[in-house]
Amino acid sequence: MENSQIIRIENLVKRFPMGKGEFTALNGIKLSLGQGEFAGLIGPSGSGKTTLLNIIGSLDVPSEGSVTVLGRSIGALSTGEAARLRKENLGFIFQSYNLFAVHTVYENIEFPLLLLKYPATERKRMVTDALEWVGLTDKIKSKPPQLSGGECQRVAIARAMVKKPSLVLADEPTANLDAANSHNILKTMVNLNRELKTSFLFATHDDKVISYLRRKIFLLDGRVDNDIIISN
């Protein structure tokens, strides 16, 4: 399964209504991603990287073309199927962490497992594991407002990773972090990518992130401008 494709995109076009007309955010994207990749969508603001990430994450649907994620065609999924795809196979990491402020670190990480109906003992073990991956075992009972930005993002990573998804989608995960924290986070992700064989797809324009990527997909005006794979 090492090199099997988990994402295949053909001729993806995404338009948004804007004013009276339409705005074309993605225009003929063709792209595929294999299992275990550590890739990033790189481009300036408005280049369509977040839109593409959202479509891959089944939060949005293509206007034209086909997007297949883990063998499922995004445009054809029902809301329930899409939710199941996200629940079972995808992890999200956001620029502003999007943690549940009122829940503890433990509860935040546990949440995806609750959705997957893991039994309590299993959940505990998995959350503990995830906390270890990100090195936050001592913050288990804290709540997000009590954490630093870097810690928050690590919680977010743990939450995304705890269920061991096939693919993690990370949208500008370091935008709110200082350099040290950014490197820390990225290293954590690189490690997880290696250990768990989880594929990572970033959307970013942060050089620090880009420096860690093993595949750099440059987007410009809704098109793939360049696709560079760095071998080892």
Binding site: T50, L59, A82, A83, R86, F92, V102, L114, K143
Partner: protein
């Protein structure tokens, strides 16, 4: 659903102060709804309570000829107190009344009255009958109601002549001394009534040991079939009041509805705000694999859970409060200067278990609906925009 409940619970507990603000407000609404409804029913029941306390006790046996609406029947409606009741009367759980028709002559005017003989030691009625227990006067000690007193223009310590005809039709007259005046909201106990000691009336009438009405204390008392006496259970004696209560209760449902709306306004406001404020969170739920409808469910459960928390909180302080109110009553001083005396009415809120349970269930149901209503917006939200908190 179980998960939604669990999450909603965590969300609310996690939100801390803000949740408790809402829960406190809602629980106040709860208690106030139940209490106000109780007060309103109490206000309606008051007539019945007063009737019980002042007039009918737990039920009565009437002499078969007695007809309260036809004073002419009084002269025939009496007979010896049946032996079946001796025990109860000795225990003070039954009180005989003897009723005679008479005339009173206040300041040379003439007015028809009912003379009621009552046991001064009785404890079934709230009438201050003990004030009849005096040997300090040559006149007949008597108590009257405040309306009657106003009518007679008489006060405590005044003497008025009354006239009656005894068992044989012979005229007799004597002075009564008013030893006490009571205030009561049951006109039948007040207007045109003069209370004197039972044994006095019996000997005045030549009807020793006889009575017109026997009132017992407990409405659960077993019914005894006594020839010559008609049993009048409480339900029959209060039938008219019950009808009135039914009407009032119907009228109160509007009040109840308004009170419910009050609680709902609190929930609605909270709910709309939280949906607005928690867009990112909603987006995150979706990103983590919730469908939007599940998020709607989560928010609905959260709203409904306010009602559950509020119910629990209400139970903590509300139940003791409501119980205390029902027992102690709520006394309201009323300015009634035209009576020349201050009167106070104590109202005992009446709440049935049904009221409490149905209120809780209703609030829960309506809260759920009200929580669901604004939450529907979530289903229409674009999750990608929600994630960015862009929705206005």
């Amino acid at each position: 659903m179980k998960l939604a409940i669990k999450l909603a619970f965590r969300n609310l507990i996690g939100a801390g102060l803000r949740t408790w603000l809402n829960v406190i407000v809602l629980s106040f609404s709860f208690v106030i709804i139940i209490w106000l409804k109780g007060v309103m029913s109490g206000w309606d029941q008051q007539a019945k309570t007063d009737m019980t306390n002042w007039e009918i006790g737990g039920g009565q046996y009437w002499h078969e000829s007695y007809d309260p609406y036809d004073p002419f029947t009084f002269s025939d409606s009496h007979s010896p107190i049946p032996g079946e009741f001796t025990g109860e009367i000795e225990k003070g759980d039954m009180e005989p009344y003897l009723i005679a028709q008479g005339t009173i002559y206040p300041q040379g005017r003439i007015q028809s009255i009912m003379i009621k003989g009552i046991n001064p030691n009785q404890s079934i009625f709230m009438l201050p009958a003990h004030k009849l227990d005096t040997s300090m006067t040559d006149a007949i000690p008597s108590i009257i109601g405040s309306l009657m007193a106003k009518n007679l223009k008489a006060g405590i310590g005044d003497r008025v002549t009354i006239q009656w005809r005894d068992n044989q039709g012979t005229f007799d007259a004597a002075e009564i001394l008013i030893t006490d005046i009571f205030t009561v909201s049951v006109p039948a106990v007040d207007q045109g009534q003069v209370y004197i000691p039972l044994d006095r009336l019996q000997s005045m009438m030549g009807l020793e040991g006889e009575a017109t009405i026997l009132t017992y204390r407990n409405s659960e008392s077993p019914v005894v079939d006594v020839p010559g006496w008609t049993h009048k259970p409480k339900e029959i004696l209060t039938a008219q009041v019950d009808e009135m209560i039914k009407m009032k209760t119907t009228g109160q449902s509007v009040l109840y509805a308004v009170l419910l709306l009050l609680a709902m306004l609190a929930i609605f406001d909270t709910q709309v705000l939280s949906i607005f404020r928690r867009q990112k969170e909603i987006g995150t739920y979706v990103a983590l694999g919730y469908t939007r409808r599940q998020v709607v469910g989560l928010f609905t459960v959260e709203g409904a859970m306010y009602a559950v928390f509020a119910a629990l909180l209400s139970a903590a302080y509300g139940l003791p409060f409501l119980a205390w109110q029902a027992k102690a009553g709520w006394t309201m001083p009323v300015d009634a200067s035209d009576f020349g005396m201050a009167i106070a009415q104590t109202l005992y809120p009446v709440y049935s278990a049904g009221l409490v349970v149905s209120t809780v269930l209703l609030v829960l149901l309506v809260t759920t609906v009200v929580s669901y209503w604004p939450s529907r917006r979530i289903a229409k939200m674009n999750p990608t925009e929600a994630l960015r908190g862009k929705i206005q």
